[in-house]
């Protein structure tokens, strides 16, 4: 291992260099524990979507790392993120993945909580000196900050820190783009989540999400079978770019390539005629010119640090469980008021990342092979130099590379390092 800074080099100076990262970052249990504290329990993490809890008293189970959480909407419509742990003896208070209830009752001793986390009561209360003695003292753990942007709900275990809008930075406009694909300006996540457990470190997934170098190889079979034009987006000839959006966020901006063809719905592998109802509603809502531009440019392909990945038609949430294991939850994007396209969004999503989906199976195989590899002793480093000498700065000050460059990965690691070095 080589320290790159003479004198006072931090642990992470020694493990993260501009164009390579040390393999122990993916395997070291102590580093994972530090990541939980400095990243997962400190920054904003995606926990769900407002459309998953549309009615008062709706709730869904969610998670941040190994923390089991409940996203609830109280009677007044306010969103809360609660830790799924009874304040009495630590039992889980909520078993179902979703439901509608104004309160939660622990199965162990019947302690009952409002859906904002307040303790309502406990059986045989004379043992605690009667009603009202401990209600203010014991409640469910409540995440101090919950906020949403375009319906995407984020929460933080830290009571202080940058606002959600500051955290999202330039990635916010990608959520705007997604919402803009709906004739009513709202994307929703109402199709239900699939869970895939993967024997790999969470960072391998994040790095892969905007890695445009792998699709032609890893997904070659599905592109060949379906005749998809997606593979060509990630080649030396492509005009698409990889962009470091700052804050650990990155994107594959495919718009230049789609603009070149100028065909509405090409990004979705179809034509306007085949999703006539959707296209008509878009033209009606936004006018011909704007609707056509949106339908040509398509959906974003963006990785929002640390766990929200939007891949055009589907959304992933990454949940790390240990240095060696994580869960990917995935769901199809649904566009409010979109008519016929929503069913197609679900079926395409199932085909790519469902239980028998080809894209996710391809990628997961690579993650697990990688994890196996990084456990080996030599060579110690992983290389992320691709495109560093042709990287440039765009008109908005963001670093961009070609479609296959590792610009996004370098952006991720720079941000990761700054968080891990913070006290």
């Amino acid at each position: 291992m080589t320290a790159t800074v003479s004198g006072k080099a931090s642990k992470y100076d020694q493990l993260i260099e501009p164009t390579r990262v040390h393999g122990s970052l993916y395997t070291d249990d102590e580093i994972f524990r530090e990541e939980l504290e400095k990243i997962w329990y400190r920054t904003w993490v995606f926990v769900g979507h407002e459309s998953e809890v549309p009615e008062p008293n709706d709730y869904v189970r969610t998670a941040i790392g190994p923390q089991d959480l409940v996203l609830s909407r109280d009677r007044e419509g306010v969103l809360h993120v609660l830790v799924n742990r009874c304040a009495h003896r630590g039992n889980l208070v909520c078993d179902d993945q979703r439901g509608n209830s104004s309160s939660f009752r622990c199965p162990y001793h019947g302690w009952t909580y409002k859906n904002n986390g307040d303790l309502l009561g406990y059986p045989f209360n004379r043992g605690y000196g009667g009603k009202g003695n401990i209600e203010g003292e014991l409640g469910l753990g409540v995440l101090p900050r919950v906020d949403s942007y375009q319906g995407f709900v984020f929460a933080s275990f830290a009571s202080e820190g940058p606002s959600l809008v500051e955290h999202l930075g330039a990635a916010a406009r990608e959520l705007d783009r997604l919402a803009g694909l709906s004739p009513e300006g709202k994307a929703e996540l109402t199709a239900g989540w699939l869970k895939h457990q993967t024997g790999a470190n969470w960072k391998l997934l994040v790095e892969n999400e905007t890695d445009g170098y792998h699709p032609q190889f890893v997904h070659g079979a599905i592109f060949g079978v379906t005749g998809s034009p997606i593979g060509a987006l990630y080649s030396d000839k492509s005009t698409a770019v990889t962009r470091d959006l700052g804050g650990g966020h990155s994107e594959n901006d495919l718009r230049p390539e789609f603009r070149k063809f100028g065909e509405p719905m090409r990004w979705f592998g179809t034509t306007e005629e085949r999703v006539f109802e959707y296209a008509s509603r878009m033209r009606e809502a936004y006018g011909d010119e704007d609707a056509e531009r949106v339908m040509i440019e398509g959906a974003p392909h963006v990785m929002i640090f640390p766990n929200l990945f939007i891949a055009e038609i589907q959304v992933f949430a990454i949940q790390p469980l240990s240095a060696h294991e994580c869960v990917q939850r995935s769901t199809a994007v649904q566009l409010r008021g979109a008519g016929d396209i929503n069913k197609r969004l679900v079926s395409q999503c199932m085909g790519s990342v469902g239980p028998a989906g080809m894209l996710l199976a391809d990628d997961t195989e690579m993650y697990e092979r990688n994890q196996y590899g990084v456990g080996m002793r030599k060579p110690e480093w992983l290389d992320i130099r691709r495109g560093v000498d042709r990287e440039r700065v765009d008109e908005n000050g963001f670093k961009i590379g070609t479609a296959t460059d590792e610009t996004g990965m370098r952006g991720f690691w720079g941000h990761y390092k700054s968080l891990m070095e913070a006290e």
Binding site: E52, P54, P56, R98, S102
Partner: protein, 79 residues
Amino acid sequence: MAPYRPPSDQSREIGIVESEFASVRISINDDGNGPRLRLEDLRGDKVRYLDALELETLVWLRDEHLSALLDPSADRWRE
């Protein structure tokens, strides 16, 4: 008696419980992430949803508790 209004889209109507004093339509509503009882006061134009835990609580409510709730100044006509 108030004119008939169908319950919301996702409600399964059970029926109307009515006396000379009150008229309430009962249905099971599926708009949310789980079923809820939907109670509609057909004379007062107010709707209340009750989830399973709240209903179970009502079942176990002592009669004197329930009587206290029936006091017209308890909630509805407080001021």
